[in-house]
């Protein structure tokens, strides 16, 4: 991997001196890499970003920029934000309302001679496709345009680190995808080490080279998006990326017997009570009388929701012991059963996760993954 540009080591922070909102947190972002800090609201991800920017004074741990320690909780050293040369983009964009777009972008270029300043500002604006608005005032721009200008303003001083705090959540859904796409391209081209904070797993998976999943101030799991999605290390990690189905069972000789067939659970001793968790798209839904290689569990369709790219189907099955199973299926296949139809269910055992004893099971309504919190 490339050289680490932004490094956090054992960082801890408390606003009131009592509750630690971030504790023992470490991460590294390389040049040209985009790392997403993902987690529910209040998990401390924004605090990590504020610490990296120098907006909060570091209390514990160490922060390094370009190999130089800029903040140290031990010695109390903390460089103020104006000396760290990091680019910052906010959820509300924070454009200066009294300055034109060009002067907003030139704001961070005070060290350059006058004539270069305007030149560089225009270049930065051109990068985000906003050169035509140089003379406009922020209030005349749409949300998406403001976001682009904010990005250009942060990039203009050519920072080696970019920090983005929920940069897309102020935009409406359709626009968001477009802007996300453009931003990704611009960030990649700038070569800056980027740390992006978001609560939206879809956004994190789209943007990130690596995801750091946080909960209650602590790191839960980190890795490339595909890996974190396909191999969650905990029930929380599994549940954060999509709705899930869960079954309970007892391990016997490295297997858990479920109504959907046996699931491998080699790392659990026999007799442990475990949870089997799998995503709705891992459950196959087929016509009951159709020929299928695998054993199918008969079920009745209770609800069908069409969301464009896929169908969300809710089914009710009965286990051998008579217990009712309420399961969700996500399918993009041609098979489209109606409510009341009898179907057969089958699960690919390799795509099911087995976790320790049940804590509080979360209610999972039949809907697409979480909207904005």
């Amino acid at each position: 991997m490339s050289e680490i540009i932004l490094g956090l080591e054992g960082v801890g922070h408390s606003y009131d001196g009592v509750v630690e909102v971030v504790s023992g947190f470490s991460l590294g972002v390389g040049a040209g890499e985009i790392v997403c800090l993902l987690g529910p609201s209040g998990c401390g991800k924004s605090t990590v970003l504020r610490l990296a920017a120098g907006l909060e004074t570091l209390q514990r741990g160490r922060i390094q920029l370009r190999g130089e320690t800029v903040a140290d909780g031990e010695s109390g050293v903390s460089q103020p934000p104006e000396r760290r040369n990091v680019g910052l983009v906010f959820q509300d964009f924070a454009l200066f309302p009294h300055l034109t777009v060009a002067r907003n972008v030139a704001f961070g270029l005070a060290d350059l001679p006058e004539h270069q300043r305007g030149q560089r500002a225009l270049e930065a604006l051109a990068q985000v496709g906003m050169a035509g608005y140089a003379g406009s005032y922020p209030h005349a721009l749409s949300g998406g345009q403001q976001q682009r200008v904010a990005l250009a303003r942060a990039l203009a001083p050519r920072p080696s680190v970019m920090l983005l705090d929920e940069p897309f959540s102020g935009l409406d859904a359709r626009l968001r995808e477009q802007i996300r796409d453009d931003t990704l391209r611009v960030l990649k081209r700038s070569g800056a080490a980027t740390l992006l904070v978001t609560h939206d797993p879809e956004e994190a998976m789209f943007m990130a080279d690596r995801i750091y999943l946080m909960q209650a101030g602590k790191l839960i799991q980190s890795g490339p998006p595909a890996e974190v999605y396909a191999r969650p290390n905990s029930e929380f990690a599994a549940k954060f990326f999509s709705n899930i189905n869960e079954l309970e069972g007892i391990v016997q000789n490295g297997w858990v017997a479920t109504p959907l067939g046996p699931i491998p659970a080699a790392q659990w001793p026999s007799g442990s009570s475990v949870k089997v968790i799998f995503r709705p798209e891992c459950l196959d839904c087929v016509p009951i009388n159709g020929a299928s290689g695998r054993a199918v569990l008969p079920a009745t369709v209770t609800e069908v929701r069409f969301i464009g790219v896929a169908r969300l189907i809710r089914v009710l099955a009965t286990a051998e012991n008579g217990a009712a199973l309420d399961l969700q299926v996500r399918t993009s296949g041609a098979f489209a059963p109606e409510v009341g139809a009898k179907v057969g269910l089958s699960l690919d055992p390799a795509r099911a996760f087995v976790f320790g004893p049940a804590q509080n099971a979360m209610q999972t309504p039949l809907a697409e993954p979480r909207s904005n919190a």
Binding site: D16, V18, S23, G54, Q59, G73, S78, E82, D92, A154
Partner: protein
């Protein structure tokens, strides 16, 4: 804060803001200490041995001072509620001809200093005044009318104060009625309340904290009043301080009397803060729609118009007309060079205080933004309490320490340099400007804080991350964004200084007459017509912030615009 609750994790001591322990906080405390100096100076004299005069005072007039002041508080408190609340309710919740006009015009009496209103009414109702002459002519009774009430007494003075102070209640009550959700009132209607019943059972109880705060402000102003009661010959604590000091030359007794008055002020001040604190419960819903208004008909309509027109007429139109009449009939009194000197002097003082007041307010508000620690917050709150100090108390509180300082310097200079520098601070623009700052910082601070609070924090963060320090951020980002509010804040201070009488009277440099001082002196000599020129000048400038205020009011709903908050401390 950090040692509040022992944590099992032993979290390190809390540090906030941007690294360095802050010079901003230290400077904020220095300013707070300056503002507190007059109060401390006054109270420090309480424990000094009491002179004969105090004993004499105690036996003779002290009881009358206290009784009169308390009567004044009660009468003004009740009066402003009676005038202000119905007017506020009618213009916000009813429909009748002229409602829009009254909505802002009801603020106009704020432009009138109480003492100026007092002069005009004396002139108006005197034996030789237009009312009596007119009635005599009409009725053909040359001997005079004995049923014209005498107003140069305590109830008369209270009435004068009510006429110019009711806008405090009107403003806060109006804002409170506006903030009440339409839904709450509509629910009360569906539950069977008539409009009147709805007013008494829902709207009024919800607005109670705001009404109490408004009345408390007016009462505090009535304790502050010097010009009216002095002119009417009513002995209150404020005039007593002045008389004991100027007449009997006893600074000790005067400051002890001042301390007593401050105790009264603190009680009202505490009540006002407490009322404001309770205002939060009034926000029962966060949804606002245009308020449903009651269409008034018949006698109700006439009553509403009269209820709004009378305060406006008595508090502004009549006094202004009298002043205008005097000024136009006697141009020789003011159409001359000395009038220009008065204006120049007033504008120098008011301009100086306005610029400094806004600068200090910006400094304090920004210090609090950078370092939101309890220490900074307390310093800023103390610095913002000066408006509670009555002018006469302030005059003594400034003069005593400044004189002590001057004498100390003088002694030192005589001893070491063998020469006397004379008075350095007392009787200079420094002393009087300092007094203005102490008293009027509150208004500018409220306006600046409200305006600064509207700028999102990410503005600061964006500027800082783009390489600008706190000072550069303030200069390049906050100040340009706030410039409109800064102007408002400056005008508020400017006008307050222009109207201020007692502190100016005592602290101004020798022979440095201002519009207010000239008005007072001429009126005291019963040269009312001559006082009209300077008085009118004060009123004309005073109308300026009222216009700004009413425009801000028109825009804001629910109504807590910066200017509105700034005007009512």
């Amino acid at each position: 804060m950090a040692d509040a609750v022992p944590s099992p994790l032993q979290v390190p001591k809390l540090r906030r803001g941007f690294a360095r322990p802050s010079g901003w906080t230290v400077a904020a405390w220095i300013i707070a200490a300056c503002v507190a100096t007059p109060v401390v100076a006054v109270f420090s004299h309480v424990f000094l041995p009491k002179g004969d005069i105090w004993a004499h005072l105690y036996e003779t007039v002290l009881g009358a001072y206290v009784t009169n002041s308390m009567l004044m508080m009660v009468l003004v408190g009740i009066g402003v509620l009676i005038v202000g609340v119905p007017a506020a309710w009618m213009v916000t919740l009813c429909v009748f001809p002229g409602r829009k006009f009254f909505e802002w015009a009801l603020l106009l009496p704020m432009a009138m200093p109480a003492y100026v209103v007092a002069y005009t009414y004396v002139g108006l109702l005197d034996y030789a005044g237009p009312v009596q002459t007119g009635l005599r002519d009409i009725l053909g009774m040359p001997d005079g009318l004995h049923w014209i009430p005498e107003i140069r007494n305590l109830p008369g003075a209270a009435l004068m104060l009510v006429l110019v102070l009711y806008p405090y209640v009107y403003l806060l009550a109006r804002a409170a009625f506006l903030e009440q959700s339409a839904c709450v009132l509509e629910v009360s209607r569906t539950l069977g309340c008539s409009p009147t019943k709805g007013f008494f059972r829902v709207a009024l109880p919800l607005a109670r904290p705001a009404l109490a705060a408004g009345a408390a402000l007016a009462v505090m102003e009535s304790l502050n009043d010097f010009g009216t009661v002095q002119y009417f010959g009513v002995d209150t604590m404020a005039t007593g301080i002045y008389r004991v000091w100027r007449g009997m030359g006893d600074a000790e007794a005067a400051s002890q009397l001042a301390a007593l008055l401050l105790v009264f002020v603190f009680v009202v001040f505490g009540f006002e803060r407490w009322s404001r604190g309770r205002q939060s419960f009034a926000h029962t819903s966060s949804r606002y729609r245009p308020l449903p208004r009651y269409h008034l008909r018949g006698w109700l309509k006439v009553g509403a118009i009269a209820g709004c027109a009378l305060p406006l007429l008595l508090g502004f139109v009549a006094p202004a007309a009298v002043l205008l009449g005097w000024a136009l009939n006697n141009p020789e009194y003011w159409w001359r060079a000395s009038f220009l000197f008065l204006i120049r002097n007033s504008f120098i003082m008011a301009g100086l205080a306005a610029v400094l007041g806004v600068a200090v307010a910006v400094f304090l508000a920004y210090a609090l933004r950078l370092h939101a620690t309890p220490a900074t917050s307390l310093a800023v709150r103390i610095a913002g309490m000066g408006y509670a100090i009555p002018g006469t108390v302030l005059a003594i509180g400034v003069l005593l320490p400044f004189a002590a300082f001057d004498h100390a310097i003088d002694r030192w200079a005589k001893a070491t340099l063998g020469m006397s520098p004379g008075l350095i601070l007392s009787g200079t623009l420094v002393a009087v400007t300092f007094a203005y700052l102490v008293r009027f910082l509150t208004g500018s601070l409220n306006a600046v804080e409200a305006s600064l609070g509207k700028i999102t924090r990410s503005m600061d963060h964006a500027a800082r991350s783009l390489g600008r320090g706190p000072g550069s951020t303030l200069w390049n980002v906050h100040l340009p964004i706030m410039r409109g509010s800064l102007l408002t804040a400056g005008i508020l201070v400017f006008v307050d200084v222009l109207k201020e009488l007692p502190a100016t009277l005592v602290l101004r440099p020798f022979n440095f007459d201002t519009l207010a001082v000239a008005t007072y002196n001429l009126a005291s000599d019963e040269r009312l017509a001559e006082a009209a020129g300077p008085a009118l000048a004060i009123v004309v400038v005073g109308v300026l912030p009222v216009i700004m205020l009413s425009r801000a009011i028109g825009r804001s709903r629910p109504g807590t615009g910066g200017a509105v908050e700034g005007a009512v401390p």
